[in-house]
Each structure stands twice: as C-alpha cells, then as structure tokens.
Amino acid sequence: MQLELRNVSRKVGRQFHIADVSLTFTAGTLNILLGPTLAGKTSLMRLMAGLDRPTAGTIHVDGRDVTGLAVQRRNVAMVYQQFINYPNLSVFENIASPLRIAGESKSVIADKVGQVAALLKLEKMLGRSPQELSGGQQQRTALARALVKGAELVLLDEPLANLDYKLREELREELPRIFSATGSIFVYATTEPSEALLLGGNIATLHQGEVSQFGPTFEVFSRPQNLITARTLSDPPLNLLPVTKLNNSLRHKGQLELPVVGALPQLADDDYTIAFRPHHLYLQRPTSEAIAVKAKVAVTELTGSESYVHIDVAGIRWVLLTAGIHHFEVHEAIDIFLDPRTFYVFDRNDRLVVTPEAASKG
C-alpha cells in the first residue's frame, strides 16, 4: 500500500501542532520521524492512525481518501514507549489477541503467533505472563502483537525509550531485519539521531510541527538542505560559526577572521553560517589547508577511547571529538584546527549553499 499525507495540518486552539505536512510512504519501507520532544512526532502519528482528524489537508491510502475514516476501520497497529500488554494473559494470548478479535480459527492463530514469535525470538516465552519478562521481552511482545495482524501501517512511538542502553542496541540491530520480513509501512518516532542513523531507511526531520526534510536517512545526514535539519540530525551537536563574507575575508563579529579557501571564494558577499561536525575539529593540523584557531577549554569528557573537548572560541561553544585520551585543564588555552573541506555553509535563510567535498561525492 501507499500512505500519502497531502498538506496536512492540525491546529489545537490557536496553536499548530502539525503545519502543512506532505509525506508519501510506500509499502515495505521504514520511515523515521526525528525531532525533539513536542516537535509533533506523536501528533503526526495520531493523524496517520486516524485517532485525530487533520484540521486541513487530506490523507490517502493507495489514492483513496481516508481522512475521516475511524481508526477501527483502518488496518493500523501501534506500539508505544510504555510496554503495553494485557497483564493477566500469557504472552501467547497477548500476541493472539488481535487475531481472536478478528475471529480467526484456532489453527490459523497458532500458526501466525508461532511465526511472529520466531521472528521476535519469543518462542520460549509464550507460556509466561508479561510480568515475568524483562523490559526488552515485554516490548518484543507488544511489537509481536502489532505485527501479527498483518497491519499495513505499523506506528512505533519511541519504542525503545524505556529500555536499557544495551537492550536498545540489541533490538535496534534486529529491527531492520524484522521490518523487511513483513512488507508493511513502518513509521518510527525517535528523539535520537544516532538511533535514526543505525536504523537507516527514510527520515523526516520534524521541527515545531513542520517537516524540514524527507529522504533516505544517510543522504539527509550528509546533505541536509537547511540548518534546522542539520542540527536535528546531529548528535553530538553540530558546531556553528556565523560569519560575514566581505571581499576576501570571513569574519565573525570582528573577533575571528578566517581565510577564504576551498569552495568559499565562489560565495557572494553576505552573512553565512558555517557548520561542521565535532570530529572535524582537530588537535593536530590535518591538512596544509587547515585553519588554526585559538580556543579555551571549558571541560573535557572521556569515553575510554575518545575525548570530547568542549571549547569556547570567540564566545561560541564548540565540541571537539578526537580519538585517544586527552587531559586538559579547565580554561586551558589550546590551538585547534578547522578543515574547510568539511564545512557545510548555510545562507542567511539557513539554506545549504556549500556541501563538504566528501559528502557531495557519496
């Protein structure tokens, strides 16, 4: 099937929860909705499910308008952040419940539950009650229940948020395989950029109820069309440097001057924002073209194999990510290096005008 949102808005009171969103999802795809809390992820899912009605725009399934159709009459399944299972039913009965409601025969139920349980590695748990399971297994049960009825649209609202870090990693690893085995449309909401990148698929970045970009996840990551998308999809956060280009110089508030190199000379004189990722700030000069900048260390975080150095440059806070363990004193002055070939440049309307060489190749 194909799900299409055409200029969908939802206004509550005077506030837009969803503002003019158009998206098209096709069967067998994983589509991620990424954005911070209150960006509109849940609101958008409720519209797709038919739990809410858009105040403007229409929703189409295979070209058929389903805007006003009640959720009971759509083929939709939903999984939430909380592990929602029937506490007094066994895992088997939990998974079987949508089939029982649909009035399937005993043999069909046993068959389908068996298949889904195998897919989610729950075969050995079928006789237990949900309370006897770990958080990860409880969420697998909820997921199995969503998959078993063969819904054409499966909505997952931060399904891993309540799980331990390592369990999250494990399920995240398995999800793409589970998704591709079913052929439904999956919509997956998350606040974590790293999770989105690990899952792949397509991504719609959300900001204040608007979709800032929609496309294949890694492509959106390497070529964000605007600054909002770039920032939403960056973890650790993107480093930013607002500059003014005048003749042959780039200045930041008169405090910092950069040579105009790489793709920068082609730009017209105006205000720009330069953005680059933390691992593209260096402690040693990476290339002869690199630009040296004086910085003051605010704090250093060590992860065991890498160091995150938080630094202040001309009143701006940046993060530098580098391999190895580096100890710096608070307020220590150090030299850092920027590589112009890794710069994203956004114009005064926050639209992308320069893409890093490496990203534009890929």
Binding site: P36, T37, S134, G135, D164, Y165, K166, L167, E169, T191, E192, P193, S194, L197, L198, G200, F218, F221, R231, S234, D235, P236, P237, R277, P278, H279, A298, V299, E301, L302, T303, G304, S305, Y308, H310, V319, L321, I325, V330, A358, G362
Partner: protein, 362 residues
C-alpha cells in the same frame, strides 16, 4: 564533605538469608574519596539503585556498615546525612518560583534572606537560570526543571555527596550534551563528591573519574574509563561498555597464539596451557580491528553488512561462522565481499571463564 566507605555491605529485600540468590546486592567493599566523581553502571536489576538507596539512607543494608569519614551512619535517617539527590524525573515544588525552589533548602535551615539571596543569584547564573528566577517552576521545560533539582543540591555548600539517579532520562539528546558538560564543569567548580547511577555507558564514562560496573548484584570491575575500555576485567564489561561492545569469540590457547577455527592469532604475550574443560575466549574491541584488501595476509573474512552511522562505519564481518564488528573511519572504502582482518596484539585480551587472563610478556 566526606570520604564514603562501604564495609561488607550486602542487602536482601526479604531479610537476612543463607541463600545467596536472595541478595539483590552481594557483599561488597568500596571507598570513595572526598570530591571524586563516580558512576555506578549496569543494566536494570543489577543492584545499582539498591546501593544508591543505601547511601542516601532510604534502605538500611541487611549486612555491613556505611561510613562518612569515620562516622558510622548506617542507620542514620536521610535528612541527617547531609546529602543531595537528583532523581530520574525532575522533582520541583510546583507552586514556588525558581528562586524559592533554589532557596528552599537554605530557608528550611533558617538562613537569613540576606545570606540566601546572593547565593541563589550566583548559582542561578552558573546554571543558566538567572532569567527564570521569577517564573513559577511548574512552567519550565524538563531540562530546566532538572537544573533546578541539581541547584537545590548545590546551594548547600556543606553536602557530603550529591547522588544522581539516571538524571538525564527525560532529557532530549541535544540537551543531554549541554547538561552533561555543565555537570562536569560544576563538579570541577564545587568539588563535591558525586555519585551517578546510570545504565548508559556514555553518561557513566564521560562523567566519572572512576566507574563501578555492576552485574547481578556484584561489582565486576572498578576502574577509569580508559581501563574499562582497554582491559575489561570480565567479558560482561567488554560487552556492556562500548557501542558496539567487545567482540568475544571462543578460542584455544597455544603459548603466545590463540587459535580460532584453525586460524592463528598472535597475542604478544605467553599464556599457560588450560585444561580442556576451561572456557577460553578472545576479546577484541571493534575499534582495535583493522580491515585490509583480501589475499594480502590477515585472516580471510566475508563482509556481511556495512552500517554508516555518521562519523564512522560499523562493518560486520564473518570469520568462518562467527560474526565480528569492525569500526572503520568514515569514507573508507570497503572493496567487495571479501576482506582481510588484522588484530592488534596490544589490544587483544584473553578471558578464562569470563575473567581476564594476564599473560607474560616475552
């Protein structure tokens, strides 16, 4: 301020018992020096919250003693222990302003307005809350609320320790970075002993000078982030720390070589022979493996999957039937389905029955 000592601490929720399985926390000894930053890291149910509650006074341990400096406080109620705690969900006084929230611990202790005001204002500045001092705390965002909870701990200059119980759970990823570095900065400024409980390895490693890794009620390793990363004392630590975790594969030991499915891997150290019943495994971090073109030495592997996660790529390779993760830099080319795998002898660990085995240098 105080040095915290845990002597022979053990706890069972069902009272003293001869069955070791009844103990949520098995016997442990620990000393935390004054002004240190510590993290308790482990999956849910590992006993880390039990341990935190013993320190805060919510629980009285079944066995053992808790000392602040040399004073036994095992049975002292929470309010007399002079500690502060930040919880998973922000705890604020809804009806008070931000100012009153921060001033509350001082007011309760009968300090004068003249003394309170400058301290609250100075602290609010450090926390970035100075603009919100007059607002009712109820109307703030989750991260600001969590800052207030933290501020109520920091305002008392004499606290023995500040305890954190998964404080970033409800915070969006981008803001996590800000709060984490701020916390680290505040630790350096105030010098309080801080104890941080989490299941998230990144939070634990970046925050703490020393991390206590717990598993099933026991401490499996205490060490600096670097030690935990390079020399995990237990396979669980290897798996739990790092993302993805350590590759652990069964092997046979032959002097200074490990044999995996007939392939020999140099270890740089000599290990004594082990009986056939012993479980010997080889552990190597994905970051310490290297891939090269096939047929030029190294171990022959098949590339199963390449996952682009932004700043690097995770390559899953199969060595005979066993799968390993390899981390390679972004943009590095993976040519074809076959490749050669290289081990670094300095970073290849050997585990005997899950515990790290140290060999002899030659």
């Amino acid at each position: 301020m105080a040095t915290i000592t845990l002597q022979e601490i053990a706890h069972s929720y069902t009272g003293a018992s001869t069955n070791p399985d009844d103990y949520a926390l098995k016997k442990l000894n620990l000393t935390w020096r004054d002004g240190g930053a510590y993290a308790l890291l482990g999956p849910s149910g590992c006993g880390k919250t039990t341990l935190l509650n013993i320190i805060s006074g919510l629980l009285i341990p079944t066995d053992g003693r808790v000392l602040f400096n040399d004073q036994d406080i095992t049975r002292l109620p929470t309010e007399q222990r002079n500690i502060a705690q930040i919880f998973q969900f922000p705890v604020i006084y809804d009806t008070m302003t931000v100012f009153d929230n921060l001033a509350f611990p001082l007011k309760n202790r009968g300090r004068s307005r003249k003394e309170i005001e400058p301290r609250v204002i100075a602290l609010a500045k450090m926390l970035g809350l100075e603009k919100d001092l007059g607002t009712r705390a109820q109307h703030l965002t989750a991260d600001a609320k969590q800052k207030i909870s933290l501020g109520r701990g920091l305002i008392r200059q004499s606290v023995n320790a500040i305890l954190f119980d998964e404080p970033l759970t409800v915070i969006d990823p981008q803001l996590k970075w800000e709060l984490r570095s701020q916390l680290k900065y505040l630790h350096k400024q105030f010098g309080f002993t801080m104890i941080y409980v989490t299941h998230d390895q990144t939070e634990a490693l970046t925050f703490a000078e020393q991390v206590i890794v717990m598993y099933e009620g026991e401490i499996v390793q205490v060490g600096t982030p670097e030690e935990l990363f390079d020399r995990p004392a237990h396979t669980f630590v290897g798996y739990f720390i790092g993302s993805p975790g350590m590759n652990i594969i069964p092997c046979l030991l032959q002097g200074n070589q490990a044999v995996v499915d007939g392939h020999r891997i140099d270890l740089g150290q000599h290990y004594p022979d082990q009986p056939a019943s012993a479980k010997t495994e080889l552990g190597v971090r994905p970051e310490h493996l290297r891939l090269g073109p096939a047929d030029e030495g190294g171990l022959p592997v098949r590339v199963v999957k390449v996952n682009d996660i932004g700043r690097h790529r995770i390559v899953r390779v199969a060595l005979e039937g066993r799968e390993l993760n390899v981390v390679v830099p972004e943009q590095s080319e993976i040519g074809g389905e076959r490749a050669a795998l290289y081990f670094n002898p300095d970073h290849t660990n050997i585990y005997l029955n899950d515990h790290l085995l140290t060999g002899e240098r030659q």
